[in-house]
Symmetry: C2
Subunit: 78 residues, 2 copies
């Protein structure tokens, strides 16, 4: 059984680096990773906020938010 | 062949959460993950700094630093 992991980003350079090095590095046997571009999928900003995401890039694993470096505040994407 | 990944932490609660959810989530087929407690291994702070680490917890993958949330500034560990 895999655990849900969601990587929220906004297409910025910091986000892309984190996506390639961290999000894609997760063990596919244990994690079902979904990549969500909040710039294109603004309807999912509320979901990110509920998980505790304050800025992107961020990785939400099993409901816990982990901010990876800093690309943009979530507020800047609204 | 595996890529070197080093997770630097200082034993703080933020660090432990990141270790369990992110560092241990990396694909073992692709990454050789080393966990370094800078509080106990102060001799490796310079190595973390060279990789661009500013605070812990941080994950250095293939020489690139990714800060995961914020537990403590590296300066506080010296």
């Amino acid at each position: 059984m895999t655990t849900k992991a969601t990587f929220f980003h906004a297409g910025c350079p910091v986000c892309v680096a984190a996506e390639r090095s961290v999000a894609e590095a997760l063990d596919p046997k244990k994690y079902d990773v979904e990549i969500v571009h909040l710039g294109n999928q603004g309807g999912r900003i509320a979901e990110a906020e509920t998980a505790g995401v304050k800025s992107v890039p961020a990785l939400v694993i099993a409901g816990h938010a982990f901010h990876i470096n800093h690309g943009a505040d979530l507020a800047a994407l609204k």
